[in-house]
Amino acid sequence: MPVERIKPTDFTRTPATPAAKPDFGSATIPKERYTSAEYMRLEWERMWTKVWLLGCRMDDIPNPGDYHVTSIGKEEIILVRQKDMSVRGFFNVCLHRGNRIMVGEGNATSFKCQYHFWEYGLDGAFENIPDLETFPQGAPPCKGLREVKCDTWNSFVWFSMNPEAEPLLDYLAPLPEHLEPYHFERMVKVADMTVEWDCNWKTSVDAFNESYHVQGIHPELLYFIEDKDVQIDCYGRHNRYLVPFSTISHRVEETTEIPHLIKHAMKEAGMNPADFDGRVTEVRKALQAFKRKHGPAMGLDYSDLNDDQLTDDYHYNIFPNLTLNTHADDLMLFRQRPHPSDPNKMFFDVFIFKLLKKDEPRPKKPRHEQFKHGEKSLGLVLDQDAYNLPGVQAGMNSDSFDGLWIGDQELRIRHFHHVLESYVGS
């Protein structure tokens, strides 16, 4: 039985019809892109400093003076809410002798470097330079902190180190139309973690851009998702796949008992698995209908989502480094950041957002935690991915390995490299 998907005539705001299949050939992808310091340098110069990047959530900095320091490679950026409620971003670098100015998150009336107390306003402009008269050359002519481009979309703050960067919405196109129906602004952050992984940032991006590895390292998911019959769509820079959840893989036999992860999804929606007399492969559609019918009474507004979105994983990659597992009730957002100098290391940020029911009190904002791989669990599935990645990176470094041998189920990896090449060159 093929997976039943919404029909072209069914309600949807997120485009759901398959995009035209691109042809990126079948060449081996050079492994140096993952292992070489030289490639890493070019990637920085030609890609990271040119694209739009996700900084923080708008509700991380709700009030004037609220700031959040985010980092990418060797750079740190202060994102700060202005008095007029707009958001601006500055390199977190003191113009005196280069010291970092701010750390973490908080509220400030000015940014004051703790080395010699040079002080900058929320707008980045010099506010006070102690003993300015002892600088015969005067203050630096630039008037203050070096600014980066900053904009907001769909509850997130974005920045670009490229002064020539196109407008954010143009960069993200066509995804705003895809993702706005999820109303991320109605969701709240419930987890905020950063893990240091021993692999290149792309090794991690790749691991989320294909479901081919589910049979290998997430076998228990074969009884919760369809891993092979997935719809892959590539758009300009970005891509996605649509993975049916609350069903079973075609690789396994249907059972009489409903697998526990599917039961869990039913219970979460208030549907009692003990009263469901249909077959396991009939749960997904029934759960969609149940959520459609009972969502409003539970204070959950699914009105902008199509039926499949009520159960499935609409899984997006926003180039270059964002992985979005979008679900009706939550968003699991992964941000993969390169290490400042080592192509064999990266930072993996996990942000989990949960849709609040109407009138549900906002939970306390989670504290950001940072740790090394293995020090703390990220949950079974992510732990399985994390456990595997250093081995992939180590193997790619072997002289015996030439490059990535990519199949159709990994089309998103090819597309990602196609876009990467358009920045870095091949």
Binding site: P219, T256, N272, A274
Partner: protein, 253 residues
Amino acid sequence: MDLRLKGLKAAVTGGTRGIGNAIVHVLAEEGCALATCGRAPERIESLRRQMDAAGVRFHGETVQGRDGEAMRNWTRNSVEALGGLDIFVASLSAGGGTDEERYWYRNFEIDLMSAVRGVEEALPALRQSKCPSILILATMAASETFVAPMAYNAIKAALVTWSKQLSQQLAPEGIRVNCLSPGPTMFKGSNWEMIRVARSRIYDNAVRQQPTRRMGTAEEIARSAVFLASPAASWCNGSHLLVDGGFSKRVPF
């Protein structure tokens, strides 16, 4: 040993999968005509094709086990289609489930009442048979603490009690009633196959308790079941046979 099943007519609930399905096949090989019911129409159809190919008289219907009327109708239709009935096997089960009160109702309707209803409808035909017998499938988990306390285990225990007392009532009429409790059983599409992959710790724990470090196969259960139901087991009545490869540790004096 001749099981003396040739030419007999048997109805098996839940015969499209697993143990029930294996019982259907063994009975067919032994020369019985077969009737069965199950939830999936395509499984009924594929079974029909297999039986047709083997030249076995067959009646199959899609039935939802919770639907009492449908269960009774299927039993009556089976008697009619086969032109009588000698053996009734109650194998249908809803499987396990915890943490929801509604599982008690589910197992009550599907495991217990489908058997009670089927037997009630089968009795008039069985009374006409020369070697009538009823076989009730329960579970080792009814008498051995297993995985978690749940409706499945306890409702199956009710079947054990009921089948024993039914055997006393029906013995004077020459109708034998026996009960068989399988241990963990592995077959294609079994819940254990899913648990092995999706909840490997529960599976490993179950297999560790098995002295041979493997689960039984549906055929291994079916052969014992077919013997108990057959005229060859004429002196087995009211017995409760544990077929678990040595899983349970209790000495049943």
